[in-house]
Symmetry: C2
Subunit: 177 residues, 2 copies
DNA sequence: AAATTACGTCAACAGTACTGACATAATCCC
DNA sequence: GGGATTATGTCAGTACTGTTGACGTAATTT
């Protein structure tokens, strides 16, 4: 293991360059930024025996109260089996409650409890703090410029999901199918 | 399961707001953006039986040829046991070679092979394309503004690692394929 | 010579994802 | 009415990536 095996290719000693127009700088920054961004809530989650999956579920249930299981799966892009464990734990710990769908009784509308709302806020707080600091530190005058860039990074087909949220409109349940 | 259990908290029907100054919009966008950003190479990796961990190792070995195992662990912030499996596979498949450290023969300097270099480029290509498109779509005139924001999102202690890379990208804006 | 360092490896386990299969209740449609 | 479909739940097995802890070896340091 110390040396190369007989048939191994020769080592390339030069660093990869941007010769091909590959934006390694931003690729790398995105990795570091996201890693640290998610590390903030990870600390808190550990105290609850939760993981990132719990955070994501909690986030979207708080953002779109009353969404159904199917809608949640569509937003998270995971399978129902994968969601099941995590959602069950959040329900068992009284962070989320399910209500039978009013129109379609097969559906389960998901709502946060006060406890779930509080945790979602606690998890988002350090992330928001980091974002605010980053905007200041980077001298970003227009917050929306970052927003626009991030949104443009999302697959076009999925951008619709993002805009579902009633930005400032609190108290009003919105377009559920 | 249909209804709330007896002691469950009451459902909150209002969407979480930005009232507390929490920047949910960017938090959410960051999640979607990173998810789609990583989904690009995931397709290619699947063909090799590799995962994201392989990609990250490959990326940094190409970016910093000759880095030691310890340095790689420090950049990735994972344990050596976690790195071992992934690194071994990349070495066995002749994407990476190890050379004994010249000064300290205990060390293993990691280098990409031509094969490893090619794969790293192939993985980065769609990501770079996405970034370039996002910069254009969002009307970002100054590429560096995004760079600065992302860098500011990284923990201060870790920013040093980012700037290790010799060749800088400053002048290059696009010209991608 | 002893201690430390760099790396490798074995074992066990956790969290999150996947596929496939099957069950139940509710709704839809002929 | 009755069959098909839909929404959800659940069981079983598997993969990938991460963890901790322990131990071994070679090389370097003290």
């Amino acid at each position: 293991m110390t040396d190369r095996s007989p048939a191994a290719g020769k080592p390339i000693r030069t660093a990869i360059t941007d010769e091909d127009g590959i934006d390694f700088a931003i690729i790398e920054l995105f990795f570091f930024a996201y890693r640290d961004f998610t590390s903030d809530p990870d600390q808190i989650l550990a105290d609850y025996g939760f993981g990132r999956a719990h955070h994501r579920v909690l986030h979207f249930v708080n953002r779109r109260p009353g969404l159904t299981v199917a809608e949640l799966l569509d937003v998270l892009k995971i399978t129902k089996q994968s969601l099941a464990r995590v959602l069950k734990q959040l329900i068992d710990t009284d962070h989320i409650v399910q209500l039978q769908g009013p129109r379609d009784r097969r559906q389960r509308e998901l709502y946060p409890t006060a406890k779930g709302r509080a945790l979602a806020l606690a998890l988002a707080r350090p992330q928001s703090r980091r974002i605010r600091a980053a905007l200041e530190d980077s001298g970003t005058t227009e917050r929306t410029s970052i927003e626009r860039f991030l949104e443009a990074m999302v697959n076009p087909e999925l951008r619709a999901q993002i805009n579902i949220v009633p930005a400032q409109t609190s108290g009003k349940k919105n377009g559920d199918h």
